[in-house]
């Protein structure tokens, strides 16, 4: 029988640093909740808003698969692998930190804030060679259907990471329903509802609610209103 966990939006950790307003689904920085450490290999789901002209200065990472999904505005990325890039709404960025990288992320715009999801997944192997990639997604490909945006396979749709994980985005009109079949045994899915109301089987999710489901092969997603959501299938780990 499927097991589930519901994280209502208002129960997330919250840190307002002035220039950065961040909601943490799982323990992060000064937010520590032993009941909210991770969902399987999904360790970080931060819902960040960065003020104009502000950003994250140069800082390190290692041994983590880091995925950024801009929801509004543009974010400039620079890293120690000599990548300089701007990611914008409609893009997805991935960085395998592996043996170690330094990077910075700034909102260069003087007027518009940036909203983006910062997602960290435990890698399935440690100390890999660091790598960076970003692609632009076609928004039409998720209208009333699931759009794969991440997988473990370099040749598959979307970006890839060092983990047996698949991410999908959906933008459904009210009343549209689809079934999600899990890709790998032992995986679970964490659904983050970006906007509107959806039902996962019989569980209603409002905007910014999160819901984990595992020990199942499939579930049904139904848009109760026009809605956008992110599905993250990850190994549940032990």
């Amino acid at each position: 029988m499927a097991q589930t966990v519901l994280h209502k939006a208002e129960t997330r950790g919250h840190a307002n640093h002035g220039w950065l307003n961040s909601y943490h689904t799982f323990s992060f920085a000064n937010y520590y909740n032993p009941e909210r450490m991770h969902f399987g290999a999904l360790r970080v789901l931060n819902d960040d808003t960065v003020d104009p002209g502000m950003g994250f200065g140069k800082h390190p990472h290692d041994n983590m698969e880091i995925i950024s999904i801009p929801l509004e505005g543009d974010l400039e990325h620079k890293d120690s692998m000599n990548n300089v890039a701007v990611i914008k709404n409609g893009d997805i960025q991935v960085m395998s930190a592996g043996t170690g990288v330094f990077h910075s992320e700034y909102n260069k715009d003087r007027e518009q804030r940036v909203k983006f999801l910062q997602i960290w997944v435990f890698p399935d192997k440690k100390n890999v060679e660091p790598r960076y990639d970003q692609i632009t997604l076609n928004a039409d490909d998720r209208h009333n259907k699931l759009q794969q945006i991440l997988s473990p396979n370099p040749d598959d749709a979307g970006v890839w990471i060092h983990q047996n994980a698949w991410f999908h985005l959906g933008k459904f009109d009210k009343g549209v329903s689809t079934e999600y079949n899990l890709k790998a045994k032992g995986n679970g899915v964490y659904i983050f509802n970006l906007s509107g109301d959806i039902k996962i089987d019989n569980q209603l999710l409002n905007t910014r609610d999160g819901y984990g489901i595992w020990d199942t092969d499939k579930f049904t997603i139904t848009a109760e209103t026009d809605a956008e959501f992110l599905l993250m299938e990850v190994p549940m780990l032990s």
Binding site: N63, A97, T99, K126
Partner: protein, 104 residues
């Protein structure tokens, strides 16, 4: 106040320094960093530690050697993998380890 002594091992010098600085931001914790197995074992032999964090770049062979050596010196020692490189995960990792919820 007696601080909780934490040994941090990592191969990337700048990341190691960042992790040490972030650990030491907590006034109840004191971090000592080592970037080689030999230095880590010598340090662990000389001083008592409550917790060991294995950071980035520590290969499986070294990890096994370090864990075995540390546990032969102090069977109660808690050893955990630090993920993320001086990131927002650090404090929670340490709290979890000190509460006995995680260990290699």
């Amino acid at each position: 106040m007696t601080k909780i002594e934490i040994l941090v091992i990592g191969r990337h010098p700048e990341i190691l320094q960042t992790v040490i600085r972030l650990v030491n931001n907590n006034p109840e914790w004191n971090a000592t960093g080592c970037d080689s197995d030999e230095e880590a074992i010598a340090t662990f032999t000389r001083r008592p530690f409550r917790l060991v964090l294995l950071g980035g770049g520590v290969e499986k062979e070294s990890e096994d050697k370090l864990c075995n050596t540390f546990r032969s010196i102090n069977p109660q020692i808690t050893i955990v993998q630090h993920y993320g490189g001086g990131s927002g995960l650090l404090s929670a990792e340490i709290y979890e380890a000190l509460d006995g919820r995680t260990s290699l």
